[in-house]
Point group: C2
Chain length 177, copies 2
DNA sequence: CAGCATTATGCAATTTGTTGCATATCAAGT
DNA sequence: ACTTGATATGCAACAAATTGCATAATGCTG
């Protein structure tokens, strides 16, 4: 049940609507968490009923109203308690690897297409992350200090995506041979 | 619903019991799939009711009996159909990154412990994978050809674990400074 | 021989996540 | 005017995963 904690973490930095959270998970935080809008709205509802978060409705010019959520004290407490608990190891479930393992059942062109598609996706993510890294590098010393930990999570994204690309190149090379 | 396909893939290579599958997911296939024993046994049951797999009970000396599952023709068909379908992008849910993002709420020593623990785990995985790679490299040309695709999935493990270690070192360096 | 780990299997309750559907506002293009 | 796309929210049915419990045989260690 860690979507809860991912949301608490984001709200701790800044108040957001469900839609804001969705967009963050889809873009710059895509590396460490993914969730659908249905999941997010449902989670926000249940967190509100647990009084971990509060909201107010904000009217916007040129856009529909939104519900902006903020942490309550209980929410802050729950987050800091969670941060102090040790984690168990994360699960890996990578369907592409399963598919490649069973790849003799598909034809080479299909695998190649899947792999180049995979490579393109990760290249796109890497570019996004590198752009954010540039922003960070150009920020003031004070900002850098404040953002040091988020920056390290970004580094995970960059290093991980680079690894994806290196591997994809190996596989594509093999499939071409 | 891809545990199903992961299991079909493994059974396509060799017949196995639920426990065998569990052990594979925990060790050499840990990189690409994880599942609990409850999940595996339940999945096998449902796949058997769908007639994708068959089993026979095998008595063992010095160990409890086991149910050894094999693919049926329908199972083979389902697998090769799945391999031919394009995948959607995998989800990432990395609680360690969430925690690091919110790391200012924990104390440095705790984060350090979490990170060194993470590093150790991934070092252990990397060592396992490297040992398997050695085996592969020492196998015959014929074997190498047969195992080419599984070997590429192993490479994903190696490259990915190395990336984990590189990143962990960056973070640990930072936390020490 | 008592206690613990490993092998081997499973059920039931609950929590999470997915899929499909539904609604509504506003901007921009055709 | 009409359609498409982005913003913004949500419900309901279903599938999948987690957690807790339960059983049973065997091997090993003290």
């Amino acid at each position: 049940m860690s979507l809860k904690h991912a949301i608490l973490t984001l709200l701790e930095t800044e108040e957001s609507s469900g839609y804001d959270l969705l967009k963050q998970f889809q873009s710059r935080l895509g590396y460490f968490w993914n969730a659908s809008h249905q999941q997010i709205y449902a989670q926000l509802k249940s967190m509100h009923s647990e009084q971990l978060i509060d909201f107010h409705v904000e009217a916007q010019a040129n856009k529909p109203d939104k519900k902006v959520y903020t942490l309550t004290q209980a929410g802050r407490d729950a987050l800091s308690e969670w941060v102090q608990q040790p984690l168990k190891l994360g699960k890996v479930n990578d369907a592409l690897l399963v598919k490649l393992y069973a790849g003799h059942l598909a034809d080479k062109d299909q695998l190649l297409e899947e792999m180049t598609n995979y490579r393109d996706n990760h290249q796109r993510m890497l570019n996004t992350f590198l752009a954010i890294e540039e922003e960070y590098k150009n920020s003031s010393a004070k900002e850098k200090k404040n953002l040091a930990l988020p920056y390290l999570t970004l580094r995970r994204g960059i290093i991980g995506e680079q690894a994806c690309l290196d591997w994809a190149d190996e596989v594509i090379d093999f499939l071409h041979s």
